[in-house]
Symmetry: none
Subunit: 408 residues, 2 copies
């Protein structure tokens, strides 16, 4: 089944709001095995909306609309869609009753306009709305389906769950199964080159790379009659990816970020981590603390931005800074070892570098991880802007912690 979305609303075209409905509907359709090929945003304009509806009907089995079901005269979605299907609007008794009850409950004055919301295309199904005044509508005619949902996410989401998921499940015999492989330490083009045959030649499952800040994600997606058959199709592809890119993979779970993996690693080994952060200024610690359960692995952390803090808090030798500067292999090493001495943690992490934006050295960074009398220091040149340099460094240093703990 192919589906497309038409999101109606001038507020989207003016950039007043983010289109979270499109993301939500896309995610849900992917889970339901429905192929979404287009999303369109169009304003509250009858001609342009009508043109968009006709185009969508010509190329997709199902159209999901969001927005334009309100009581005002510029809410036109229902009228336009009914016209496109050649359907008359008639009053739905239950919709009218619920509308009156809701308006009374909130003590709102009922105007003539409001009754417009109780109109439904003749012979079609009203999707009663428990969170607002606009009922949704399900139209099935001439082999096409149209689903009209109200724009506010607080109404659209519960209505999709209540009405649309059961409707699509009852119609489909295919299930989409998808796994996200997450890599750090390799660029998108190099990763893609290593598995070029998989990307180009796989049709079921498909393999698609996505570049993130200093990460690459590979989505492997199979279509099958059920979850188990889908997993069976995906398995050999995952094995090939593992064989070719295994050293860079930190997770095959959609919901994992690198900090989730690191907190889990530490929890499993009953270890505490602490950081000595210079140019990342607390970002490593705050990423870790963002993970529920972080209190089992992190007690405290230090932001040592100036040289004196590095010497006083972390016992960095003043001679080290004098000789090599604070942005050096030697200083990063002493910082990582020093934070273990200062806090009694098991794993010590350090970052030092030039975030920029100015200066020859911008993006030149060192980070270090110390664990069990061994300290690994890495040097990198990151050609990003100031904030991305930090972001990239945080991800890289967490990946190094993961790698060291995995090897232990």
């Amino acid at each position: 089944m192919t589906c497309e979305f038409i999101c109606v609303g001038t507020e989207l075209l003016l950039g007043n709001i983010l289109n979270t409905n499109a993301k939500y509907l896309s995610e849900k359709c992917a889970e339901l095995g429905i192929s979404v090929f287009y999303q369109t945003v169009v304003g509250d304009n009858p001609e342009r909306l009508e043109e968009t509806v006709h185009l969508a009907l010509s190329r997709s089995d199902c159209i999901i609309f969001s927005g334009g079901l309100g009581p005002t005269t510029d809410d036109l979605t229902k009228e336009t869609v009914a016209k496109a299907f050649g359907l008359k609007l008639v009053e739905d008794a239950r919709a009218k009753e619920e509308l009156l009850a809701r308006m009374n409950h909130y003590g709102r004055k009922i105007t003539k306009n409001n009754f417009k919301q109780a109109l439904i295309p003749e012979g079609q199904k009203a999707l009663y709305n428990h969170h607002g005044t606009a009922p949704g509508i399900l139209i099935e005619k001439d082999g096409k389906t149209a689903i009209l949902l109200p724009g506010p996410p607080g109404e659209l989401v519960p209505m999709f769950e209540e009405y649309c998921i059961p409707y699509f499940e009852s119609r489909s015999n295919q299930k989409i199964v998808s796994v996200m492989v997450k890599l750090i330490g390799i660029g998108e083009s190099e990763a893609a080159a290593r598995i070029e045959d998989l990307i180009l030649n796989s049709t079921n499952p498909t393999v698609a790379p996505y570049a993130k800040t200093t990460q690459v994600h590979l989505r492997v997606t199979a279509m099958a009659e059920n979850e188990e058959a889908g997993r069976a199709l995906i398995k050999p592809v995952l094995e090939q990816i593992q064989a070719k890119l295994g050293e860079y993979i930190y997770s095959m779970d959609e919901n994992d970020d690198i900090e989730d993996v690191v907190v889990r690693d530490l929890e499993e080994k009953h270890l505490y981590i602490s950081c000595a952060e210079s140019f990342t200024g607390g970002m490593v610690a705050s990423r870790l603390i963002n993970v529920p359960g972080a209190s089992n692995v992190l007690k405290e952390s230090l932001v040592t931005y100036c040289d004196e803090a590095k010497m006083n808090r972390l016992f960095v030798d003043p001679e080290t800074i004098k000789k090599h500067s604070a942005v050096s292999f030697e200083c990063a090493k002493e910082m990582a070892e020093g934070v273990i001495r200062a806090t009694g943690c098991d794993v010590g992490v350090a970052t030092t570098g030039y975030a920029g934006p100015d200066g020859e050295e911008a993006g030149h960074i060192f980070f270090a991880v110390s664990f069990k009398d061994k300290t690994v220091v890495k040097e990198m040149n990151l050609a990003f802007d100031r904030n991305l340099v930090r972001e990239a460094a945080v991800i890289r240093v967490l990946a190094l912690v993961h790698q060291i703990l995995k090897e232990t």
Copy 2:
């Protein structure tokens, strides 16, 4: 001028990412006085992309594309658009040089794929990218304009500012002048209610409110024949906003975030700040360190997540924690005062709270700012999710620092 957007990427159709580019581009076009009638999302599929490009060319003066400029074989935007305009792709010498320099700087291996990114439609303009490997492209042919920008917002946004705004301004004989008024401490609906007359009745300049996490921004936009005339139209409106909402305004500069304002406040008064962060885990410090020049106002900072760290590093009285718990008015006060004692800074900041996601108390937070023998403690209940609770707390505590320093 009419414009539409085509955002290319299967990750949008699968709901992996939110389409923040569409919102950003919509907002900017609205400011520039460009009418946007359609936004389309389409996947990395040559036929569907081509069909979408032809439709857009038939109805709009200008199309802005985002995404699909990467080095992999499924990045097809440039190839498809060039074909639609009947243009051959040729290598751009500077694009190739910059690509090689960037790859060398990163220490990345260059694969054959990469060189695809240095191709530009013949006779058209490359928009060189300072934040990534994919140059953008500006095509002008047969009375139509196409602008191709890379998908990552960290590349698209600076490229739009550098190339597209001057391009659109040069084509229009009207200059758009816009000021963003930034407020913290008041909700969107209350702010809008206080200046309802301005929002409803102003046409030039217009006043539009935008709700952000725990902030409200008001954009005041005038169209005039030149910058000076635009500023003159805006001035009385800013005065009215100042009179009605002045206490909540922290900046009237588009580029300012609250941390920029706080770093400036501290620099002007030659003060050092340090934080004692519990549930924000280093986010306050890292926001401050993100500001160029932060080293003049922050030497070090502490993440004191567990109770012992609060007692040992910040001299919080064990009795205080025993009696009131670590998430209390008293503990926040002692933390803010303790960080001054521990680090010798002038302004001490503390955060303690329950970020959630679980538990009765989720979102219950305290933060404190201590300066010149006076400590102000605030208690809040933030009904957001775990990450937004932190984000909101960071903004609120920085706003409190600004307020206290302004009053001094």
